[in-house]
Structure formats: C-alpha cells, structure tokens
Chain length 113, copies 2
DNA sequence: TTGACCCATGTCGATATAGGAATATATAGT
DNA sequence: ACTATATATTCCTATATCGACATGGGTCAA
C-alpha cells in the first residue's frame, strides 16, 4: 500500500507546503487563479492541480465569473485539524514560559534532520 | 518529483492517520512500544517505523529502560502546526454561530468524496 | 550459554504522488 | 469565424512511501 491520497483528508491535503502557500494567499480574500500564479510564481497547471486537491477536500470553493474562476477559502473545513490539535494546545500553552522548550526548538531549527 | 518526505515536516508526519493515532495514544503519558502495539492493534514493525518518523521530526522522544523504549510526546514540536492554523482560527470561531457552515459540514460528512 | 523478550531495521511490491510539457476547454472580443 | 485569454486536464518520469514478512540486535533470566 502506498501513502494515503492527498485528497483523502484535510491533513494530507495541507501536508504539501505549496498548498499551504496557496491557502495563505487566498487568506487575503477571493482571488482568480492567475493572481495566485503570479503571486506565488508557480506554473499555472501546478496551481490548478493544487486547487483541485484543495477543492476535493473542501478547503476551497470556487465560482465562475466570465472566463475566470474565483477561489475562496472555506474556513470550516479546517475544523478537523483544529479539533485534533485542541487537546495538545493545553500542553503547548502551558509550556510557553519554560525556557528549555524554547531552547529545544531553536536547536531543532539550527540542526535540521 | 514525488511527494515530500514524511520526515521533512511535522505536517507531512501527521498526515498519516495511524501516526496521529500513535500520538493520541501517547497523549495519556509515556509508554513502551508494546503498549502502542497492543493498544492500537498494529504490527510491531509498523509501530516502530511510525515512531521513527515521529522521532525524526521531533514529535516524540524516547529513552531506553532495560529492553524497553519509553516514548513520550514533545508538545512543543506541534507549534508550527498551531502557528499555521492560528490565522484561520478567527474565521473558524467567528462562524460557529452561523447555521449554514454547520449544515455544510454535516453535508460533507454525509457524502464523502 | 541458551533462550525468551522487546524493539529496530531491511527487503519487496503496489501505489500515488509532484512537476514539466503539451493540450484541451471555455469565454470574450473583433 | 477567428484570436486572445483564463483555466483545466492529460501524459510522462522519478521518487517515496505503507504494509507484510523476515531478520538483526540488545537485554534479562535461568
């Protein structure tokens, strides 16, 4: 068996950094594909394919306007992610004042892998 | 190019549902591998490989105790996820009172794909 | 030392990607 | 009808999985 499909899940869909970039770009508001292409300097087919994945998991929605398609984020679709993360947020926030955690993170950033 | 490595990122690491299950199981506290194997009824090599991925991205840490290895979660490693999600949480929570979002989610759950 | 136990690692197969290039589809304008 | 524009889709290849199975490597006990 291979890795789960990118369209099987919100988790798998946002695993790709470029797809998160597309979402972050759409966070400013509804935009046509061309704006994303020039904004993120990715190829147009790439963007279309990423948008397709995001659409299939419900992260974005689009409406046609002339020959353009305006995409927008569907924030509610991020809820599974939020809900999975919720139980851990307590621990995450409780430790914000602990120095060693901060140092560990710096160390992890310094020596990747 | 293929999909990014599962060990390249926290996002890629938690894309796999089984790995999230392992993390959720460890959320109750430090546990040896065998407890995860029997708790989640996965094969032992599977669990070891998943733990390896989680270790390489810093999501878990382990210490040896006799012939057992005790794994525990490193909550700070979830911070990139939390930080990426943060800007969207506003929209997520603002809409909790909007009925159509709730209905959309129900509909999405009812008819997968 | 032998064996039981706990865990990690290697191999193999099927599968699904991401990216580039080319092409298809649809709409608008002349 | 024809052209230009905006977007989607198809074909291709290299790559990296996940799962099953087998095996390697410490560690404890007798």
């Amino acid at each position: 068996m291979a890795r789960s499909s990118t369209t099987s899940d919100v988790f798998n869909a946002i695993a790709e950094a470029q797809r998160r970039d597309v979402l972050d770009h759409l966070a400013t508001g509804e935009q046509p594909v061309g704006a994303i292409v020039s904004g993120l300097s990715m190829s147009q087919p790439q963007v279309s394919k990423h948008l397709r994945v995001l659409r299939e998991v419900g992260l974005v929605r689009c409406r046609a306007e002339g020959r353009r398609r305006l995409y927008h984020i569907e924030p509610a679709s991020l809820r599974p992610l939020q809900e999975w993360l919720a139980p851990y947020e307590r621990a995450l926030n409780d430790r914000l004042d602990r120095l060693d955690d901060y140092l560990n993170e710096l160390q992890r950033q310094g020596e990747p892998q």
